[in-house]
Symmetry: C2
Subunit: 155 residues, 2 copies
DNA sequence: TCATACTAAGTGTATATGCACTTATTCATG
DNA sequence: CATGAATAAGTGCATATACACTTAGTATGA
């Protein structure tokens, strides 16, 4: 006989592609990112940057570590993602008052203006994906995604 | 009155965070990637590399552009993602026969061995996420993700 | 108080992602 | 067949992601 059942044969690999959670989530993530990038392009802001701006705006001035936790993002990733937005003046990172180690992130007026420009484009994108999936299916998927985060995130 | 309804107020931004498709998909993608990275660590291979190996194995020798299409990935991204796997001898990129421009990707024996090592760890990760979500919910989500790809991908 | 543990953040390195541009080959059409 | 259009792939640049390590403050306890 050959190997002990020829580990990793073709059909097996094809089935893995259809059932693998990380592969399919990342694939969908790439696809949806491309859609939103296309739709947001006229505003000159990337989808990741738009969502980061929105998050900071929604959570008020917030320390980097806390923000990273909320975003399920490595703190050092967040630090670097803040850079282009800070460079473009859309948000500012200021020293924390109580704790001299911490630094707090804050959306600037320019950032708010930028959000105002991007928001209708974001709404168009949302409408597009919502129309394609249907209201209930999209809401359901958002729930499922939350469950994935709960299940997967290592606290 | 202030602005024409104070575009981008706090509550609005909080609601965006809960309903934004790209934000929540990317967040879940980060979370699940971290889980699989953790679980696959003993094999010394990253989740993205594992899924790429599986894809190439499942599709047989395949040209870069075709593979990129299948993975809903920019061709140039794929080109660079192949590099570490090629460097480590897990796959090879060889000139296409019919078309001298094309190059075909192929898993090596070493790559197949590596897949054999990673596969049980991947199964553990799959079991974990499947148990957390439940069979039907996970299958449903995979369907929904396919629908997102269909809806979002610009062909 | 002072030494030690803990915590917040930054940096080095590596991979992942994609756009704009370029190069090389193939195809189609006059 | 020759030339221009189309296609396959690579490179430069920028952003996104995270681990390992470092630095600088804070808190704890003998």
């Amino acid at each position: 006989m050959k190997n002990k059942k020829s580990i990793c044969d073709l059909e097996q690999c094809q089935e893995i592609g259809q059932t693998c959670a990380v592969f399919n989530l990342r694939k969908a993530s790439r696809a949806i990112t491309q859609l939103y990038e296309e739709m947001l392009r006229p505003s000159g802001i990337l989808p990741t940057q738009f969502t980061l701006l929105v998050a900071v705006r929604g959570m008020g001035p917030i320390a980097i570590s806390k923000l990273a936790d909320q975003l399920v993002m490595d703190r050092t990733t967040l630090t670097r993602n803040l850079k282009p937005l800070e460079r473009d003046g859309l948000l500012r990172v200021i020293p924390g008052m109580q704790d001299q180690r911490s630094r707090e992130v804050k959306v600037t007026q320019k950032g708010i203006n930028q959000l105002g420009i991007a928001l209708p484009l974001w709404r168009d994108a949302q409408r597009k994906i919502r129309k394609a999936l249907g209201d209930s299916r999209l809401d359901r998927m958002l729930d499922d995604l939350s469950a994935v985060v709960e299940a997967a995130y290592i606290h």
